[in-house]
């Protein structure tokens, strides 16, 4: 049983590093503003509605679509595997590779493989894994998980990367030029791309009608990973299925604009089957998704297309950094997904939000994120995941606030009032409010008292009424 991730404490640590915090906040706010590319598309809101409806239709008919996909993919020459959980996924991937005596795997970015912790599983069994996505590779070399779902290393400064590459690749630690660093990565990864006999990708969308896997990248590294070797494994969560090629267009028009502000990513690729002499495997992964499908309040999070727009707009994420969540998925989508994996470990994540609702309004598939955040808080209460001290403070508050006489006595003095009002609840961190802020001072008298003396007539009338 794991202790809950203390996101607030991790955020505080991140904030102490003003250089990295300011950079992350500035970069991602700029990304958020680039979403104005949506202005190019007059039908943007209609597309969002369509995308949401297509996903809801598919998820509510998922079993049929899964069977359709399996049949089409199989007819295309793809070998379809089914993984109930992360471990089974990793074992299947390993077995495919071991059968071909593969000792080097190149792969493109896949949050699912992060979720399954595939890399350490393979590495322990003697298979070297090279991430071909620049951000993922940086994080791999630095032994850190991704900090953001589309830009895994977006929190690192150029200097961080220059130092890291000089340690791992022997490049110039003082050359922080972005193009130079991208060149160092390219030069050092190319040999692996050329020599690997197996490549792995994830998928953004799975088209049931044609049995095709769709992957969107900026670099083309999914195409390289899938096309250069003769063995391609594609791992994907079952929720990524969409019905038709026609419906794919709706999502493609929304995805890049939501993620980076570009109309489309440089490479929007479709893998339908192996080429002659090569093999293609697809691993369909459940790992809790089918269970989440049955959660009345929370199944809409399965609509997610992994664009990260919610993260870019989230003011809490930008001040906390992605690693503060201690989870595979972070930011708004993370705090509503992670409790489905491990409720205790992630019991504090739903509180890492001001409930400002910005996320819901940028989500291309209209997930009701802020409502799910609120809903998870209630679930935490129901599942006794709320700290006893906090609950007790709330109980006291409720008692006082539901009894006018008690309330009025309590609010006559500042110190007693502070004990009552949950805003200043002293359950969690002592005098937390006052750490960086001045405490408000009580008025000379409460409004209640003022009204009694200044509007005695109406006061009397209401009392009688």
């Amino acid at each position: 049983m794991s202790r809950p991730v203390d996101q607030a404490k991790n955020a505080e640590t991140f904030l102490a590093d003003t250089v990295h915090e300011q950079r992350l906040d500035t970069l991602l706010w700029a990304a958020r503003m680039r979403r104005a590319a949506a202005r190019q598309v007059p039908e943007w809101e209609e597309l969002r509605t369509l995308a949401s409806e297509i996903k809801e239709h598919t998820l509510s008919n998922l079993s049929d679509y899964m069977i359709q996909f399996e049949a089409r993919a199989t007819a295309n020459g793809v070998i379809v595997h089914w993984a109930r959980d992360a471990h089974e996924h990793n074992q299947i991937a390993y077995d495919i590779l071991a059968e071909q005596e593969i000792n080097l795997l190149i792969k493109s970015k896949s949050m699912l493989t992060e979720e399954c912790e595939l890399r350490p599983f393979l590495e322990r069994r003697g298979i070297r894994v090279t991430e071909t996505d620049l951000g993922e590779r940086i994080q791999q070399l630095d032994n850190q998980p991704p900090a953001h779902i589309t830009g895994p290393a977006i929190h690192k400064t150029n200097q961080d990367v220059a130092v890291l590459f000089s340690q791992k690749y022997g490049s110039d630690p003082n050359n922080e030029d972005t193009a130079y660093l991208a060149g160092v990565m390219r030069e050092n990864t190319r040999p692996d791309i050329l020599n690997a006999r197996a490549g792995m990708t994830g998928a953004n969308f799975v088209v049931a009608e044609t049995g095709a896997m769709v992957v969107a990248t900026n670099e083309g590294n999914a195409d390289l990973s899938a096309n250069t070797p003769q063995l391609h494994i594609c791992s994907v969560g079952i929720e990524k299925i969409i019905p038709t090629t026609e419906s794919l267009a709706v999502f493609i028009r929304l995805l890049a604009r939501s993620a980076t502000g570009d109309a489309i990513t440089q490479y929007t690729s479709m893998f339908r089957g192996p080429r002659k002499g090569a093999s293609m495997h697809v691993i369909l992964v459940d790992n809790g998704r089918s269970a989440r499908l049955g959660m009345k309040r929370f199944w809409h999070s399965l609509k997610c297309i992994r664009c990260a727009a919610c993260m870019n707009t989230c003011p809490v994420y930008r001040r906390s950094g992605g690693l503060s969540y201690g989870s595979t998925y972070m930011g708004p989508i993370g705090i509503i997904m992670m409790p489905t994996f491990e409720i205790r470990k992630y019991s504090e994540l739903p509180f890492a939000s001001t409930l400002n609702d910005s996320c819901t309004n940028v989500c291309p598939v209209k997930i009701d994120i802020h409502e799910q955040i609120y809903g998870w808080r209630e679930v935490m209460e129901e599942n006794d995941q709320i700290q006893v001290v906090k609950k007790e403070a709330m109980r006291v508050a409720d008692k006082v606030l539901s009894h006018p006489a008690l309330y009025q006595i309590a609010t006559t003095t500042l110190s007693t009032a502070l004990e009552v009002l949950p805003h200043f609840a002293i359950y969690n961190r002592l005098n937390a409010w006052g750490k960086h802020r001045d405490v408000p001072e009580a008025g000379a008298e409460t409004f209640h008292a003022w009204y009694r003396t200044h509007r005695p007539k109406t006061n009397e009338e209401v009392r009688r009424g």
Binding site: N356, R377, S402, Y407, T411, P422, P440, F447, H448
Partner: protein, 268 residues
């Protein structure tokens, strides 16, 4: 039409002058206002923390207190948003439904019900950094949001304040980013909350406003706390005070001035 005035708990305690300004403003507009004296709180602080079981009694008490009124006005976007959209700690009841249906934020009441646009008794020869809360923008649709790029730009608080002679608005960046208060978030994620407040103030200050105005005192409570800690003297006003025409110094300085009746900026 009789209007019941709901004064949020934290205004009752810390910013009674905002309740007074709201009351006086409504009276100036010829509204028959009463203040049910048994009111306390809407239960939002407990409910937002997930502790909805601990919000139950307070919520029901609130519904009972206002049961006989078909129009309830409160100078708080966050309380209105909570009542209208999240008032479900316990089972539904006719009293609750009544309150859900009939509660208005002060801005909504003035802008949409009374349809007032002019406040001839007031002047405010100052440059205002107007802050609109997330509850008001995204919960109550009181202003457009930058996330929705195709929506027409509008702001009900700004429309009202524009009716006060002399007023000028400071244009600042990240105008609809959250200020960081977030209810109990302000203490549970204190570091992030404060940083958001500091950032919001910094963006506002770049536009050199004379003061900061909002229709949500909870945001201002937080921003003021941040500002004072940074030794920034900038005054904070609730929108009701500006529209009412009486602008006492709100600044809760370390000296602890009483807020009511203090002569200050804007008095002619």
């Amino acid at each position: 039409m009789q209007v019941a005035l709901m004064v949020p708990c934290y205004i009752d305690m810390f910013y009674p002058h905002v309740g007074i300004a709201t009351l006086e403003l409504l009276e100036k507009l010829g509204v028959d206002v009463v203040y049910p004296k048994d009111q306390t709180c809407c239960g939002q602080p407990m409910a937002n923390s997930g502790c909805y079981e601990e919000a139950l009694a307070t919520e029901e008490h609130c519904a009972r207190v206002f049961a006989s009124f078909d129009c309830v006005v409160t100078p708080s976007g966050s309380c209105t948003h909570h009542i209208r959209n999240k008032f479900n700690a316990g089972a539904d009841s006719p009293e609750k439904q009544n309150l859900v249906r009939n509660t208005y934020d002060l801005v909504e009441f003035l802008h949409d019900v009374l349809k007032i646009r002019e406040f001839p008794w007031a002047t405010f020869d100052h440059k205002v950094a107007l802050h609109t809360s997330c509850s008001a923008i995204r919960g109550l649709n009181m202003a457009s949001m930058s996330e929705r790029v195709h929506d027409a730009v509008f702001s009900k608080p700004k429309a009202l304040l524009s009716g006060v002679p002399g007023i000028e608005f400071a244009e600042f960046e990240r105008v609809d980013e959250c200020c960081g208060f977030g209810g109990t978030f302000a203490v549970t994620e204190e570091a992030v909350s404060a940083k958001m407040g500091y950032d919001k103030l910094a963006f506002m200050q770049k536009a050199s406003p004379d003061c900061i105005v909002s229709s949500d005192m909870s945001c201002l409570m937080h921003l003021q706390g941040c500002a004072r800690r940074q030794k920034q003297d900038i005054p904070f006003y609730h929108l009701a005070e500006v529209l009412n025409g009486v602008s006492p110094w709100v600044g809760q300085s370390a000296v602890g001035q009483s807020a009511v009746g203090q002569s200050g900026v804007g008095q002619s």
